[in-house]
């Protein structure tokens, strides 16, 4: 039975890889591979389900592949299967099958037909890894793939400004969710002294025993999980990303933002439920979060005049209720609600163009002119205020951009004195001094040493903040992010157990991908001298689509995406941050988040958006 579980991950992966090598013009084959993958997965699952149910639906756990082992640390892929996985699996496979079948004709003759199916399959891979994951590390792999595929699908119409901008925006919010996961992982390393599997979380006495002594750590982990879940499931205060994600072809919006992607936060809560089950305060928090989101989002949904935003907010409101259900411990209800809501919203989004004919017709027959304006139970003043506030989406979008990303940007701008030359003159020598100190710790006063990692990681954070707000030089931005990783490596290296092999695991991917990326940027610079900056979207993928693809791979490597050893190194670095070094952990995770955003921003500004040259049709910025 365990073997079968693996196939649920292998089939999507094979499907994805196969779709990569099929040429663009073979529309038919591409779509066949896509819906074939989903159908095969679905069929396998049905067969499996018979045996599984016959065996009394046991919880299955496969400790699979150890990717990395060091003293006191192992990174392993762990697969886990229970009824939550089963429901997510069946809904996911069914909807993916429907959507790929649907898109087979719907996307006919669309530029990027292949790209579309590649991305859907990549999403499906990430989705399955996430729902089958048996520990945080595996989950994080899937989580990252979901983030990337979301980015790619939102920016599907990459020759337009708004999809490109919104893709970066959504990616940024997702990335904030990633901090939650990263810090939760870090804290749980210290709580359990191992990479805990979800299976073990079911061991009540074990969990209870650990939490008894570390209730603060326990609360912290739960809080971080809630942040991650809220970001991914568009709960407050993150909600405004969801309607903005509906930039791709309608079926992709339907499956991603109507159903599957947006319910991953719910999944995270269900999966970690045994962990926080007995933390009453956390349950109250989740319940309240769900409640406020449900109320606010349904008010926003009620005033929407665009059909997709309306469905989006209505879906958020339902997910808010699902959060409440989970908080109340009604897991089965929550699962049923998830499935029903996913089907309903997917269908509603798919048929959203039909509202014109349907509702106009209804208006024709049932129209009642609006006579009295005020709702009886609301005083007029309050009605107007709430109405306007809801039209403004309760300022959620401006809140995120002004107070979160705007703050990052403002700090970054205070470092504007950093230019390529200044980096060489100031930052590099300081780094060398730091390196020297690392090996000559004996000469340092011992009371200074604990502060050094924090200081270094703080400098690293400065690097990414500057990279994030850099407007002119892509090269500087790239170098700063490279430097950030170097600072982090240095900071962690002061922690005694950190081995050279760990450092090289961490930096290997970055150095290789960073080098390739730097070379790529130089090439682009010489080819497009006039159009090489970060002050606007340049849309170079119009002329250099292949180049854009390979550069994206380099970017992924740089941001610790699970394609290079850096991904493991990232986790390794965190595992070496000691429990009391929460500042270091905080700076590091913040740096990780902002670094990722800075890289995707760099990629988007250079390669996405409407093309800077106008010898062909160019869309309006507002289009």
């Amino acid at each position: 039975m365990n073997l079968d579980i693996n196939s649920f991950l292998l089939i999507p992966l094979l499907g994805f890889l196969l779709s990569l090598i099929i040429p663009q013009r073979k529309e038919h084959l591409l779509s066949q591979v896509a819906y074939g993958t989903a159908a095969l997965n679905f069929a396998c699952f049905l067969v499996f389900a018979v045996f599984w149910l016959a065996a009394g639906h046991p919880v299955l756990n496969v400790k699979d592949i150890v990717l990395y082992r060091a003293e006191g640390y192992e990174f392993l892929i762990d697969i886990y299967f229970d009824s939550v996985t089963a429901v997510y699996m069946i809904v996911g496979a069914f909807l993916t099958f429907i959507i790929t079948m649907y898109s087979r004709v719907y996307l006919h003759r669309e530029q990027g037909y292949k790209r579309f199916f590649n991305t859907i399959l990549l999403f499906y891979v990430g989705y399955n890894i996430t729902i089958f994951s048996g520990n945080f590390e595996t989950l994080f792999i899937g989580w990252e793939i979901l983030g990337l595929s979301s980015f790619l699908l939102i920016a599907f119409y990459r020759d337009r400004y708004l999809p490109s901008r919104n893709a970066v925006k959504v990616f940024s919010v997702y990335r904030i969710g990633d901090v939650g996961i990263l810090l939760a992982m870090w804290a749980s390393h210290h709580l359990w002294h191992e990479n805990i599997t979800f299976l073990k979380l079911h061991n009540y006495s074990l969990v209870h025993e650990h939490l008894q002594n570390h209730s603060a750590v326990g609360a912290f982990i739960s809080l971080m999980l809630v942040v991650a879940a809220a970001a991914k499931s568009a709960q407050l205060p993150f909600s405004s990303w969801l309607p903005r994600a509906m930039e791709g072809p309608t079926p992709s919006s339907a499956i991603f933002y109507g159903s599957l992607s947006v319910n991953i936060g719910v999944f995270l809560l269900l999966r970690t439920y045994p962990f926080w089950e007995y933390q009453t305060s956390v349950r109250i928090l989740i319940g309240l979060l769900g409640l406020t989101t449900a109320v606010v989002a349904s008010m926003i949904a009620r005033v929407q005049s665009s059909v997709k935003s309306q469905i989006g907010y209505a879906s958020i409101a339902q997910i808010g209720i699902i959060f409440i259900e989970i908080a109340l411990g009604l897991k089965l209800l929550a699962l049923a609600h998830f499935a029903g809501n996913a089907f309903l919203r997917t269908y509603q989004l798919l048929v959203s163009p039909s509202v014109v004919s349907y509702l106009i017709h209804e208006q024709l027959y049932n129209f009642v002119p609006k006579l009295h304006t005020a709702k009886r139970f609301l005083p007029k003043r309050l009605e107007y205020a709430l109405y306007l506030l809801s039209v403004k989406e309760w300022n959620l979008d401006s809140f995120m951009s002004r107070y979160v990303f705007g703050a990052f940007r403002r700090v970054g701008h205070s470092l504007d004195f950093l230019t390529l030359r200044n980096v060489l003159v100031f930052v590099l020598p300081v780094f060398v001094i730091g390196l020297v100190l690392l090996f000559q710790q004996a000469y340092l006063p011992p009371y200074i040493i604990p502060y050094l990692p924090v200081i270094f990681s703080f400098i690293g954070l400065g690097m990414v903040l500057k990279a994030f707000s850099e407007r002119s030089s892509p090269l500087l931005c790239w170098v700063l992010i490279l430097l950030y990783h170097a600072w982090i490596a240095l900071a962690v290296a002061f922690n005694e157990q950190f081995q050279l092999i760990d450092v090289s695991t961490y930096l290997s991917g970055i150095l290789i991908m960073g080098g390739i990326g730097f070379w790529g940027l130089r090439k682009l610079q010489s080819a497009e001298t006039q159009y090489f900056a970060l002050d606007r979207y340049y849309g170079h993928s119009y002329e250099h689509p292949k180049f854009a693809f390979w550069f994206l791979i380099a970017c992924l490597g740089m941001m610790g995406f699970p394609i290079s050893p850096t991904f493991i190194g990232e986790d390794l670095v965190f595992s070496h941050i000691r429990e009391e070094q929460f500042l270091l952990a905080f700076f590091n995770s913040l740096g990780f988040v902002i670094g990722g955003i800075a890289i995707i921003r760099l990629y988007a500004r250079l390669f996405l958006g409407s093309h800077v040259k106008t010898y062909h049709e160019v869309p309006y910025k507002s289009a």
């Binding site: 072809p249 009620r302 029903g340 309903l344 959203s352 024709l364």
Partner: protein, 859 residues
């Protein structure tokens, strides 16, 4: 300010807004899609000059890419001899010709477009602020909520009348949540005496730049600006009418700009005009045409004439048996039945098959409202909708009674699913039913309550109030039904303008048309343009009723049209997507007529199948090689499939409008590219009916043609882009995503197979008569004078071709004297997806074929 200066100021403001409105897209809300010339603002200029000017000012692409012309030349769809003739006409010396040729064929040009629009407002960037990014989302949301026709659950509160008035009242009393947070903007907003000029002074400073600034601002979201301008002119374009004006939109937007600037910089920032150091060229200063414009112009002409030339050659070879021996041709043939269709290009091939299957049948073309103009009110409907060409304002109302089929509803569109608690119940119950619907929609597509089906427009079994009861009161200022006199006028006009005044067959069909589609926001653009974007079923039925009425026949006799007792008119509807026909009132036929009718129905059925097969050659995913029955089934399936963005291809490839007798075109294969209006010059010596026909055909056919043209050459700016990501806003328009501007124009799926060539209108009449007719009104004359439509007069006796050029008719000799002969339609249809040249049909009269100097055969 003195009264005088206030007046002057208001006048200038009005002037400016008037000018602005002129340049904004003029597309109506989705429910009445009416085609029009996208560049209507430039129609006062000659075509090519207008295109180059529009491009220089607004940055549109107005021709195909240079590359594409060259590829088409290589591929043979632009003919070398046509190009050579054009080069010859445009040069004096062989050297110049050589030079021009190398420019056309080889020279590299920088084809980038730089626009004047946006050059003032782009300077906000110098402030380090992205104003549009901050203002657009909130502005679009407010507009959408205010104008919404039925998407939102919580309707816009209407404390006052007008967009700004409502918002001002709400802002005034709301204790929190207001739009404006900065004191200055809020104060200016609440102060009713704030003027645009004052706001512009704050923002722009330099008065000389005001106009440019406003154009920049409104054109940065031309979709919304255009919609507001349209609704200001015609608030009744919305069923739930709203008062809005361009003034209100601009007022709101200027204030939001001030708000965002104040938020960022406090109240201390200098107007943008003071920051601009270099002189900015005025938006509408003269533009000059350069070498590239010239090259593109010639390519476009060559492209167009490569097709026109064949058509003209084909038309010349027509109906020679009637000429010149019989100078006053009359319709003398005995017909098995007659069928009158809409002039629509989609009926072109259907008529061909009907005539082919029953060689004794006759077909006619006329605008699909059959000369009866009225508002139609379906039973139980709260509104009546126009059922005639858009510019006409009817005085009549036709009501539907005793409707049998009931409209079904679908809970998926119910607003309750968006509310909190009911949404909770619905998603746990209906949600699982959605899964079934999802599966069904991809595995077995079928008609659902939200699909658009032309046959649902009116119930075949319902009755209509066509005859006016003299005692009945008027409703909403409209007469319910027509009097006998009024009916006679309309029937006379219909018959005389089409030339069907004698030799009536026992059955005359009046066939309107409509379309069916699922999940299609632009569904109204698929229906009959002459019925204001609705199916023509009611018009066909009403017109048939009139022509059958004994009183009407009596009065018609007095006016010289004698319809025999034995002739019956039958109204019908052709569904152009599904290729199906529905007949009205055919149960009441006499036994003899019933027999004839059922024989004709067989003809129609077969013609529909063949027509579906011919259409299918354009559908890449459909196997045209299958039998007509199978292809027909697949074609029908497209109309109900949610995932099919191309249920039919509509007017794509249209490029001809032929006004004359069917004998002109009957022997030709015109590949569904021609609007055809039947007209007999001999019955209309002074061109009275011709004027009526041209007055309607020029804006309708020209509008369709040019909308397709511009949506095709710049689908991003003049079209709606791909429809796949479209999001419906307020039921009035579509946008991309959540924050996007409205997208007027046609989506790429509608125009991708279209060849952007202008309309060539061919009129069968003496050039001097045509010349006189087109000069009747300046509006009509403008279309031809400025070459937005190519006009050709075909001499009815000598068959000489005259092309309208520089306000004169000039004799034209086609270069191509030979046309290919289509031996087998099946092979021809199955041969390619691309546009086909003009062919002579194998079953055309021997005479027509012999007229070709040399005949090549198509195998």
């Amino acid at each position: 300010m003195t009264t005088k200066s206030i007046q002057k100021h208001l006048f200038l403001e009005k002037d400016m807004l008037h000018k602005l409105r002129h340049y904004l897209p003029a597309q109506a809300p989705l429910k009445d899609f009416i085609h029009h010339n996208t560049l209507h603002a430039f129609q006062e200029f000659p075509f090519h000059e207008a295109l180059s000017r529009a491009s220089a000012i607004f940055g549109y692409r107005t021709y195909l890419p240079l590359k594409e012309y060259r590829t088409r030349f290589q591929g043979g769809s632009i003919h070398a001899d046509i190009l050579a003739r054009l080069i010859d006409d445009n040069t004096d010396t062989p050297e110049a010709a050589q030079e021009l040729q190398s420019r056309l064929l080889e020279k590299d040009y920088d084809t980038s477009v730089e626009a004047r629009i946006g050059t003032v407002r782009k300077h906000w960037k110098d402030y380090g602020i992205h104003l549009d990014k901050l203002v657009h989302p909130i502005l679009f949301r407010l507009l959408g909520s205010y104008l919404d026709q039925g998407i939102s659950v919580w309707k816009f509160p209407m404390p006052a009348n007008g967009f700004v008035a409502c918002l001002r009242e709400m802002e005034r009393v709301a204790p929190f949540g207001g739009i404006f947070t900065t004191p200055r903007a809020k104060k200016l907003f609440l102060d009713e005496s704030t003027t645009l000029k004052y706001l512009l002074t704050l923002l722009v400073g330099e008065e000389g730049l005001f106009e440019h600034y406003l154009f920049d601002q409104q054109c940065s979201h031309a979709g919304w600006a255009g919609m507001v301008a349209v609704l200001e002119e015609n608030p009744n374009a919305l069923l739930d009418a709203k008062t809005i004006s361009l003034h209100d939109l601009i007022f709101m937007e200027l204030l939001l700009e001030i708000e965002m600037l104040d938020r960022t910089f406090g109240e201390i920032w200098s107007p943008i005009g003071y920051k601009i150091e270099q002189a900015i060229p005025p938006l509408f200063a003269p533009t000059h045409t350069d070498e590239l414009d010239e090259v593109l112009r010639l390519w476009q002409e060559a492209f167009e004439w490569s097709y026109y030339d064949q058509v003209l050659s084909g038309l010349r070879s027509s109906h020679s048996n009637n000429f010149p021996s019989n100078p006053e041709p009359k319709n003398t043939r005995e017909a098995s039945f007659q069928a009158m269709f809409c002039i629509d290009d989609r009926e072109c091939s259907f008529r061909r098959y009907v005539e082919h299957l029953d060689p004794k049948s006759q077909t006619f073309g006329t605008p699909g409202f059959f000369n009866v103009e009225f508002y139609f009110q379906p039973e139980h409907s709260k509104f009546h909708t126009k059922s005639c060409p858009a510019p006409v304002s009817p005085k009549f109302l036709i009501k539907e009674k005793e409707r049998k089929n009931v409209r079904k509803s679908d809970a998926h569109y119910a607003r309750q699913s968006h509310s909190l608690f009911r949404g909770w119940l619905i998603s746990q119950t209906l949600g699982f039913f959605s899964a079934v619907k999802l599966l069904e929609s991809v595995v077995r597509p079928s008609l659902n309550p939200a699909s658009v089906h032309s046959f649902r427009h009116t119930d075949k079994h319902a009755s209509l109030t066509i005859e006016r009861d003299e005692n009945a009161p008027m409703e909403n200022g409209l007469f319910v039904g027509f009097s006998h006199e009024e009916m006679t006028d309309r029937a006379e006009g219909l018959l005389k303008s089409t030339g069907l005044v004698e030799n009536f067959a026992p059955l005359v069909y009046l066939v309107g048309h409509g379309a069916s589609s699922a999940n299609n926001t632009h569904y109204a653009g698929y229906d009959c343009g002459a019925c204001c974007g609705r199916p023509g079923s009611v018009n066909a039925r009403v017109a048939a009723f009139m022509a059958n009425h004994p009183k009407v026949r009596e009065m018609l006799r007095e006016r010289g049209v004698i319809i025999p007792e034995s002739t019956r008119f039958i109204g019908a509807l052709h569904d152009t997507t599904r290729d199906e026909l529905e007949f009205f009132d055919d149960e009441d036929l006499s036994a003899t007529h019933k027999t004839l009718h059922s024989a004709n129905q067989t003809t129609f059925r077969e013609a529909l199948m063949l027509n579906a097969k011919e259409r299918s050659r354009r559908f890449e995913l459909l196997d045209t090689l299958k039998s007509p029955e199978k292809v027909h089934e697949s074609v029908k399936l497209r109309s109900v499939s949610l995932f099919e963005p191309r249920p039919e291809l509509n007017h794509a490839t249209n490029t001809l409008c032929i006004i004359g007798r069917r004998e002109l075109t009957k022997h030709l294969f015109l590949d569904r590219r021609a609007f055809m209006n039947s007209y007999n010059y001999a019955l209309d010596k002074d061109g009275k009916y011709l004027f009526g026909i041209m007055k309607a055909a020029a804006p309708v056919c020209g509008g369709i043609n040019l909308e397709y043209y511009f949506s095709r050459v710049d689908n991003q700016r003049l079209g709606a882009g791909t429809k796949l990501p479209h999001n419906v806003i307020g039921l009035i328009a579509v946008a991309n995503g959540a924050d996007g501007d409205l997208r007027p124009g046609l989506p790429s799926q509608m125009i991708e197979v279209h060849d952007p060539t202008r309309l060539m209108m061919v009129v069968e009449h003496f050039p001097e008569v045509v010349q006189k007719v087109i000069r009747t009104t300046p509006e009509l004359f403008e279309w031809f004078k400025n070459s937005w439509i190519h006009l050709v007069a075909l001499h009815p006796i000598t068959k000489e071709v005259f092309v309208f050029k520089g306000e004169e008719f000039v004799s034209y000799t086609p270069l191509h004297n030979s046309l290919l002969k289509a031996l087998d339609m099946k092979i021809l249809v199955e041969s390619t997806q691309e546009n086909l040249p003009v062919y002579v049909l194998a079953d055309a009269s021997g005479e027509a074929q012999k007229n070709h100097a040399e005949m090549e055969e198509f195998v």
